[in-house]
Amino acid sequence: MARNVFWDSNIFIAFLKQESAYKEYLEVMEDILETPDYRIFSSQLALAEVSMGKIEEAKTKSFVEFVNTFQQTITLIPTTPNIWINAGKRVRHLAEIYHSVMP
């Protein structure tokens, strides 16, 4: 049975940058990516956040190729207006409780 995981942009950024601070998690991420049992979900927003970075000049692979790979490897949840409406309501509710939406 497939196991579903959700990765936010910080996970992808840590993975792509091979952040040394998250060394112990990087191997786990690699395993998840290599294991067909896992299905990784993410949001289109996460792709936009990852795409903020520029591919180093020296590397020849194009940005389009990266997006192509990302979209097919990761199951991206489309950001529809109904998701925005729910997100807006949730943020307002959290702001009411905590007087802030910042962590």
């Binding site: 903020m52 990302f70 097919q72 991206l76 489309p78 409780i97």
Partner: protein, 267 residues
């Protein structure tokens, strides 16, 4: 000076195999969940955390604990008690009147659902009693659990849904291209849960449609929302991009220079 409120929490085991014993794990996890729920009620009622909760008494011979609420910081007592809020909230859930709730109550309801988790499996039922005037004894049993679940379902139904047209990108497999009518039609099977979206393809050439059939594609489309269904009712395709053979995400390690914004920039 106002007296600190107390709540009595008592669990009952499953009679069939353990002679009414409750496992330490079940008791511990419910106690943690109860404290979490009380803190949430306190924050919701007072706008910020005003109380802490401590164990006042552990009863001998039964799985019963008394929790006491005390203001923290000690000299600033908030106006509303988290324990009383919890009692009122749980009583409303027990009444089964879902009209009393809206989406703003969802976090609380989810916590209440977690408190009910395992009822009928790990324990028979639990009692919550604040033993005061106008208080209601709350029985956490399978009926209460189903009412909490039903309330969450009902409030989600109340969410307003978008009605109108947007431009969106969707990813999936293009199937069943139908060229029989004046306006070609097709179906896009989304990668997400293989949901099927009907497509109108009047702006797409026949050649592109034929090339895209049964392939993984990314489509830019005018999406029509009817205010009833969460996803678009139909897509009017503007352009189609066929995916090439994907590489491995691992191949992109170390090839990005992604800036991490610092906290000040975010705020």
């Amino acid at each position: 000076m106002a007296k600190n409120k107390q709540i009595h929490f008592k669990m009952h085991g499953l009679k069939k195999d353990t002679d009414d014993l409750v496992s330490p794990g079940a008791f511990g996890s419910k106690l943690v969940q109860l404290e979490k729920t009380l803190k949430l009620m306190d924050e919701s009622a007072n706008g910020e955390s005003g109380f802490n909760y401590g164990i006042k008494d552990l009863k001998i011979g039964s799985v019963e604990v008394v929790l006491e609420e005390f203001p923290y910081p000690p000299l600033l007592r908030p106006q509303r008690s988290g324990i009383e809020e919890f009692n009122n909230f749980a009583a409303k859930v027990r009444s089964g009147d879902t009209a009393l709730f809206d989406i703003s109550h969802k976090v609380m309801l989810e916590n209440l659902k977690d408190l009910c988790k395992g009822v009928g499996k790990n324990f028979s039922y639990a009692e919550l009693d604040i033993q005061g005037k106008n208080s209601t004894k709350i029985i956490i049993d399978e009926t209460f659990q189903s009412k909490a679940k039903q309330t969450v379902v009902e409030i989600e139904k109340k969410l307003p849904l978008f009605k109108g047209i947007t431009y969106e990108t969707h990813i999936g497999h293009l199937k069943e291209v139908d060229l029989r009518n004046e306006i070609p039609k097709a179906k896009l099977i989304l990668f997400v849960n293989r949901i099927e979206l009907p497509c109108i393809c009047k702006s797409i050439s026949i050649k592109t449609l034929c090339d895209s059939l049964n392939k993984a594609v990314s489509v830019l489309a005018k999406a029509k929302y009817d205010g009833i269904y969460r996803l678009p009712k139909s897509l009017d395709l503007v352009s189609i991009e066929i995916f090439r053979e994907p590489g491995k995400l691992s191949d992109w390690k170390g090839k990005f220079d992604i800036p991490y914004p610092n906290r000040k920039e975010v705020i």
